[in-house]
Symmetry: D2
Subunit: 388 residues, 4 copies
């Protein structure tokens, strides 16, 4: 069995990234239920994210989303983050909310719209320069709703041209990560619908381009851990967007729908070196929970990732490999399940204590009074949401 | 082969219902792309719906949605409809956009919220009284996002209690139709997720309660025509919400994603008497197309339903039954496909001509100048959308 | 928190049923990989099943499958079971392997074939009489492969007529349970494709007819625990066929693909009284694992059901209900997850010790030498499989 | 609109490949229903395939499957084909029916098993040499049933090593095409589960390796025409396995489940040059219909491919591109649908007449007396099936 202190060391070194928009209002097409106390600007979002890190000790990074997190002075924003004990993580582009992007952005049939989209991506790289972020995270809503609406291959050509331009703009220590998604908001064809498409483009672009795996962006029945393992084997896994789904891209709390799947995914990460910082995999949470309290839900998600990580670190890899080599189906499966069935909550509570944290992050957050404080303080102004 | 004049007579008698909200802005959670010229109130929605009927001759009914279509004087609204040559169809309730409904409406754990929801449903029946509508169309967004969030059985009890109250309020010639939906906006459990749940409730409620089949509300692989056939056999099919989907509840134009499925569904309708007015099946389009022009898309959908109907009316039923009885798999399938493979557009153009309409409804609409007129006229005010 | 001794008492009272065919060879359409030592007749199948009960103490029932388990003297078979310490459970009919059943059995267009199918079902009831089994378990492969092949409604009529005949034949303490399945082996329409269809028929048949939920027989995204809860609320849940699936009806070991789903299902069972013997729910395993050793895989599945049961018994129901009533989404979810995250293996090992069993059933089975014995003894004859 | 004579010329030049195993018995894991008159050896399979070509004029190629089609003298088999007016198409390997392949073939943990698998593939290349076939078609059933059973990455390494060995063996004018499949017979992980995996391996192997798209091998909701378009853009589409599915890999007649999807796929083929012989795309039917007559079902499938091809050739591409460039969603969609809605059966009947064939291939086959002849003649011997 793995050495407990090594397990703890690995857990302590874990860095989970939370999304600034996860602290803002979000919802479904039917309704966005606003919550009292949600942030009104990027500074307040960072403050909330800092609470998650304060409670868990493993969430020091915060993803930004442009234009939602546009500010006048990005240096000031980065300094604000540092003061709060967190850092700016990836810069997420948004080419789906401008009226011009109704029929797409980088793959739009009109060259003028594509130029506008590329200009936005260039602005995101500028923000990387200004904030010290090393990653441009690209998700394109581009696609079509009806057969015949546009030419699938022509859209790939335009997409690649735009990606190439932006790739050329990246600095020496910067990179781009390209997310794929089966569907939504496009309902017939999506221009980057699966890992194969993202991988093929990244391969052509070069070593600074890698694939993002959002756990909610697959067809039913897709074996996500296979994709993760494959991309790690190819050195092309750039980042995770963790969240949960029962049906489509439900964006629920991480580990809430299928904790065993999260475990299997992280088992592939652990087994294939994905937790090594050298591999450069970003572990981001991309959830847009809309009926439960924002900060506690994020803490819960961070804890769920931690628990799954602890379990995969407890897998007895030598025993697993021996059983696998012997073709012992039940034995190999049992080795994996032994780790999954372990209750790692006491181990994590001990770890937190060693890190000077409360054994129970949610209790600590509740006790902090922060929730009441933001409700009282954040009066007036416009609450942040997907549209702002 | 069926008699062409009988086919035309049946097609001429067809009444398709369009949704008032299909003329307003709609979109995805990512973005609602507003369109110039969309209606600003229910009167303008009816005017647009009347254009669809004027062009096609088979869309005389318009569904209302409350509170989106709330007006001071429903009698005036009904009179307005009559002046335009259309009629008010079903009254659709909405218990998903009030902040109180965050955790549900009729199935909410809090009795006060449930009372509010029931009061809204009662208002809808009042509107039926005022407009002469005979159908209350119920879709509940109720459900939960997380395992454990609420008790599945308790929610059923509350749901049934509310339905019973409203059922008791129905007048002699009024009825309720209950829609089911697999998921969205609830992501873990939905309180009326499938036809079985709707059917079981309707059976207990009584003969005035029937099931609504929305073609976009099923799990992948569900055989929708089986459900339609089964409900017709039981006398429990109340209405259709037609639309298209490739993935989830995409709400695209009817017949755009899988025209053969639409044909198979309508074949069951035809074969089992569902086109008889006595059966009381409402044929509504419930599409929320968001990137294409509103009125032409609705005309196209109506035409697609018409074409599929024409094809199923051409099925050689005696030949089909003979092949089925003989266990002739290929032969029976071939009879069905012969009808499907037929190009019915000339037949429908002839029919329109006989009805005094243009042979090409879309061309007629384009030539009418209506599209330009509403863009010019409807300036100022607030455009209607899902939220208004 | 629940009282540990009450939890143990409930676990000790649990009765899980294993399928005779789970000890025989099975496979996919591509290949059946035969295993040395598998039974050659029903007596040997019972002997293997008795090993599973001996190791776990909670698997005293064995389902039979006719004609695979046809014997000359069913009294002798029942006595054999009793000698081995197990009992005959449900009698499973088979109307899918006779050449006459190519286009269906009870729903076949030809009345002669339907009569043959009904005669088989009557034989199954005779076997219930002879063995003391109280349940006829019905699964029909009936359906069609092509649109138009047969009439969906006519097939329902035939199906119901056959069910009614068999229902009338049931003795006072006998019942029938009707299984549904989305697809396979029929690929276009299936005559009992979902719980709604089974429920509607059972309702008409009467109180002796109940629904079987096979956990592998649903469309992707179906919330199975909702169905279970709904059927328990209606008093119509007759039995489970437990197994695991990632894609279709994979028939893997129970709990191997989604242990959290198994927990959620059993949570609904526990909360709604489904573990009470009075409810009459049969907890059968229906797995056809084909690459791993038969008996150990069955033991593992029984243990997985036990572990999931132990977890649901540990759910703090009063706390859960309080959080649910308060609309505390995160709190209610957390109560459920606390139970799921608990490692119940020590509790179950203690229970086994108290029951006079080995703490580790799989180790006990391995130590017994039974596996080697059957390989050595069962030489010659024809191995049992799906076809024999 | 396209020139009718050009359309006819293209249709006449079409070469569809049928699978030898499509003439033999096949079925589901529940039952293989044997048919009178099915072939007993590869020579008889070719004779049946020749009937399909005789009736349709566009099915001159026959895929072989080794070992099912193993013969002593492959030269004699090829000569027999030539005499019948057909040619040997692709050689399909089989590494899933030997007992040694229970846990995989080229990805098996045991090197000895892998060597055996590679030896089989080499034999297939030998058969290519002997028959003049230019394509090795590879589908691997390799995968695992349980999490932990084997190492996903290690299996990729072994797979690639085997592929590389075989690739090196290919002659100058030979190539390999690698098929992917979501699941079945492996139920947890499949070693080549999606197009991305096949593409990544083919890219590394070199220009002689291309991807096979089997239309039944995808997760629900997958946009297959996107994959086809993408692979054509990359020059990596090697072959199609056409068939139909409603649920999983149902292997029904081509075009029977979703004729519009078949049309969309072939539209991408047409638009992207895939019908040019230079592109080297093989258009194979891989159906295993099990309840309908073998030869007529194959004729029907060939006709369905022909009809879909005719429709895509009728697409007004200049009009389509103009509407796409203008962002005219409804207009572009309408151009595509105009072609789909056309009844091309008269055009194809005319073409057949011009080719000296009967206007109705199925009627011609029925009139030929072949069906009765093979039932009468093929008495004794062992019928061919998946296992022989």
């Amino acid at each position: 069995m793995p050495d407990p202190s090594a397990v703890k060391a690995a857990l302590q070194a874990q860095e989970i990234e939370t999304p600034s928009w996860g602290y803002a209002n979000s919802g479904t097409r039917f309704k966005v239920f606003a919550q009292a106390g949600v942030p009104r600007d990027p500074f307040e979002k960072l403050a909330d994210a800092a609470q998650v890190h304060a409670a868990t000790g493993v969430a020091p990074l915060v993803s930004l989303h442009i234009p939602w997190d546009r500010v006048d002075d990005y240096g000031a924003l980065a300094a604000h983050a540092a003061n709060l004990g967190v850092r700016i993580g990836m810069i997420n582009s948004n080419t789906f909310q401008d009226d011009d992007f109704k029929l797409g952005s980088v793959a739009h049939p009109d060259a003028a719209v594509r130029r506008k989209a590329v200009a936005h991506l260039m602005e995101c790289v500028d923000i990387m320069d200004a904030t010290g972020s090393d990653s441009l995270k690209l998700w394109f809503a581009d696609g079509t709703n009806y057969p015949g609406q546009d030419d699938i291959v022509a859209r790939q050509d335009r997409l690649f041209e735009a990606l190439s331009e932006v790739y050329a703009r990246l600095g020496e220590h910067q990179r781009m990560v390209l997310e794929y998604k089966l569907f939504e908001p496009a309902f017939y064809s999506t221009d980057v619908p699966d890992w194969g498409t993202s991988y093929a483009h990244c391969l052509k672009l070069g070593p600074k381009a890698k694939v993002v795996v959002d756990t909610g962006h697959h067809a039913p029945g897709t074996n996500i851990e296979f994709i993760v393992a494959f991309l790690l084997r190819e050195g092309k896994l750039g980042a995770f967007d963790f969240n949960s789904r029962f049906y489509a891209d439900d964006d629920l709390m991480v580990g809430a729908a299928d904790p065993f799947q999260l475990f299997r995914i992280l088992h592939e990460v652990a087994k294939n070196g994905g937790f090594d910082k050298a591999h450069g995999v970003a572990f981001m949470l991309d959830q847009c929970h809309n009926i439960e309290a924002k900060i506690p839900a994020m803490i819960r998600s961070v804890m769920n990732v931690q628990e799954a990580t602890a379990k995969v670190l407890l897998v007895d890899l030598p025993a697993l490999r021996e059983a696998q080599a012997a073709g012992d189906v039940l034995g190999a499966h049992a080795v994996l399940m032994d780790a999954y069935d372990t209750d790692v909550r006491p181990l994590l509570a001990d770890l937190r204590e060693e890190m000077g944290l409360d054994r129970d992050p949610l209790a600590a957050y509740r006790a902090s009074g922060y929730a009441e404080k933001i409700v009282a303080d954040r009066v007036g102004g416009t609450q942040a949401g997907w549209g702002a």
